[in-house]
């Protein structure tokens, strides 16, 4: 974009570019890039945060696989919280998006309302469900169990042994609207003529969905899957709040384990190694799925 005008003022322009880039780049380098590099360094050490760190190579990463390691159950919980709610979220979101896409009355109301839970902070969502699940007389679910099924003993749905299962409906409730809006936007980008042509050929709603809608929105659907996987890998807030900041082996995820190891046991090397692994997993998921997508795009 070098015009005759700007060439004459090239020094002034160079200064302008520098002065506009320097503050954001400096801030970003200092508070994102530098800590990223340091995370890799810390992950190779044993360090209590006070004395000098000791270089231990890959020992932190190897200890993830050691017998009795807390890390294995933690990553299993991440997988659980990604897969089980994920299946419900994707199915419900696709189903509702497809229903609303068919130009029904009140579409706007459903679209706006379904998105509500996504607006509320994860801490508020966790507390809202804590109240629904509460074993005290305030708890709605135990109230229903008592009046409909004559259950006399309240069930402590949020105690550690049941917490992960109880998080499934909560996660579905809070996330489905986002994916529905995402999928609906993709569906609305599909030209109406495709559907009209297929209908003339006698295609029913099921055929339309699998032969036109899904293939046409495949890229956005895959993006949704990546979001769900990354969200599952990072899972932290709800568990932290519902366990009052003291998750146990039965409820730890990678992020909560990282927090506990660093800020409660002062095992900074180990905790940072978890963060590094989390980052690598996010990276692999994103890069691999992008590659797969590109290949599919070439095949068509």
């Amino acid at each position: 974009m070098t015009t005759g005008l700007s060439k004459r003022n090239s020094r002034a322009q160079a200064w302008f570019v520098f002065s506009f880039l320097a503050p954001p780049v400096a801030l970003y380098a200092l508070f994102v890039l530098l800590p990223t590099i340091n995370a890799f360094r810390y992950s190779l050490t044993r360090w209590d945060g006070l004395s000098d760190p000791v270089y231990v190579g890959m020992r932190n990463f190897r200890s993830f696989l050691a017998p009795g390691s807390d890390f294995i159950p933690a990553i299993q919980h991440n997988l659980f919280l990604m897969l089980v709610p994920g299946v419900f979220i994707l199915s419900l979101a696709l189903m509702f998006a497809n229903m609303i896409h068919q130009r029904i009355k009140g579409a706007k109301v459903f679209r706006i309302a379904f998105f509500f839970p996504n607006i509320i902070s994860s801490v508020a969502v966790a507390l809202l469900w804590m109240l629904i699940y509460s074993p005290t007389k305030v708890g709605l679910l135990n109230h229903f169990a008592a009046i409909w099924f004559h259950r006399t003993q309240p069930v402590p749905y949020t105690e550690s042994s049941r917490l992960l299962t109880s998080l499934v409906p909560m996660t579905v409730w809070s996330a489905t609207g986002f994916y529905m809006v995402l999928f609906l936007a993709a569906m609305e980008n599909i030209p109406e003529t495709y559907y009209e042509a297929a209908r003339l050929d006698g295609a029913g709603p099921t055929t339309l969905f699998f032969r036109i809608t899904m293939p046409m929105m495949w890229e956005v659907f895959t993006t949704g899957v990546i979001f769900l996987i990354i969200g599952g890998l990072k899972y932290f807030d709800a568990i932290w709040v519902l366990e009052n900041g003291r998750p146990k082996t039965a409820t730890h995820t990678m992020s909560t384990l990282m927090y506990s190891r660093v800020f409660e046991q002062y095992n900074i090397g180990y905790g940072t190694a978890i963060a590094v692994l989390l980052f690598l997993l996010v990276l692999i998921v994103t890069v691999v799925s992008r590659r797969l997508l590109q290949r599919e795009a070439l095949e068509y």
């Binding site: 974009m1 070098t2 015009t3 005008l5 700007s6 002034a12 322009q13 302008f16 506009f20 880039l21 503050p23 780049v25 801030l27 970003y28 508070f31 994102v32 890039l33 800590p35 990223t36 340091n38 945060g49 419900l92 509702f96 029904i104 459903f110 679209r111 706006i112 309302a113 379904f114 998105f115 509500f116 607006i119 509320i120 902070s121 801490v123 508020a124 507390l127 109240l131 629904i132 007389k137 305030v138 409730w173 489905t176 809006v181 936007a185 993709a186 029913g204 993006t223 949704g224 990354i230 990072k234 932290w240 709040v241 900074i268 905790g271 940072t272 963060a275 590094v276 989390l278 980052f279």
Partner: protein, 311 residues
């Protein structure tokens, strides 16, 4: 398909959609109307409407007011609320300013290193907050020490007493992280946006004798408003609800933001079995973001899908 089968289909569709609508909206309504109940009323029937609605009276009104008074004043919810307003407000202003400066230059100027800088920003989209959390914690200690060493002597010599700078347990520290961590997404969206603006705009402004700076602030920024609004809404929701960084970097109760304050109130309320406080607190915490959403929902859903579909 015949008309009867079609009607059945439509019926099922509406039934399922309405059922889910109820599942989404009812828990929020339940929190809202339960916040007008006393703990005794909740114990009597957790599902029923509050006496305030069924038998309106001054006494029942007092229960309602008391719950909110306890939350807003007694439990410092007003502090949490204004802390959130302050931290998120300042962060947003800086994010929009710095993000659009970087994006404008990256989108509209040719210079050496442009590709590298853009790639570095885009790499940030892949970095989870968890990765930088721990190193930042220790980096903050070093930086605070360094800043104090640099700035304390001149301040002392000017007669203002001892100066100690700490980025830990301070809004400034949290804001710096929020701004830096929000830049990749902001730069990504705004660069794409500035690229779509016609080149003639800048040339025309410069012909009129405006400097590059003036061109940016009085021509480009106003035209860039739709892009800025999208980015602002997206960042607002993320930061307004942010929990993990606040948890690590804010310790003093008087500095806490809403999500942190809500979490600590919940422990107090459960300990004292004061559920009125908890329900009222939840309403205060949920309401602002929901109201912002209702007013800006079209722009917001567009912003989110733009981010997701292009990302």
């Amino acid at each position: 398909m015949n008309a009867a089968a079609n009607r059945v289909f439509t019926g099922i569709k509406y039934f399922l959609l309405s059922l889910y609508l109820l599942a989404v909206v009812f828990p929020m309504l339940w929190v809202l109307y339960t916040s007008a109940k006393s703990t005794q009323e909740m114990y009597r029937n957790p599902l029923g409407l509050p006496d305030l609605i069924t038998h309106p009276s001054a006494a029942h009104m007092a229960v309602f007011v008391e719950n909110y008074r306890k939350a807003w004043i007694g439990s410092h919810f007003s502090d949490y609320f204004f802390n959130s307003v302050k931290v998120v407000g300042i962060s947003l202003a800086l994010i929009l300013l710095l993000g659009s400066m970087a994006a404008y230059v990256l989108a509209r100027f040719e210079f050496k290193g442009r590709g590298v800088i853009y790639t570095l920003f885009m790499a940030g989209l892949l970095i989870p907050m968890q990765l930088i959390l721990i190193p930042l914690f220790f980096q903050f200690s070093d930086m605070s020490e360094w800043l104090t060493r640099m700035l304390a002597p001149p301040v002392r010599s000017m007669g203002f007493g001892e100066l100690t700078i700490s980025l830990h347990d301070s809004h400034a520290g949290l804001i710096l992280i929020y701004v830096a961590a929000s830049l990749p997404f902001t730069v990504f969206v705004l660069t794409a946006f500035f690229k779509t603006l016609p080149a003639e705009l800048r040339e025309a402004a410069m012909m009129d004798g405006a400097s590059e700076y003036r061109t940016f602030f009085s021509v480009m920024m106003p035209i860039g408003k739709p892009g800025l609004v999208t980015v602002a809404i997206f960042n607002f929701l993320g930061l307004w609800n942010e929990y993990l960084f606040g948890l690590v970097f804010l310790n003093s109760d008087k500095l806490k933001t809403l999500p942190l304050g809500l979490a600590s109130i919940s422990m107090q309320a459960q300990y004292k079995s004061d559920f009125g406080l908890l329900f009222a607190g939840l309403v205060i915490a949920m309401a602002p973001a929901l109201i912002v959403y209702l007013f800006l929902q079209e722009k917001l859903t567009k912003g989110i899908t733009v981010g997701a579909i292009k990302g």
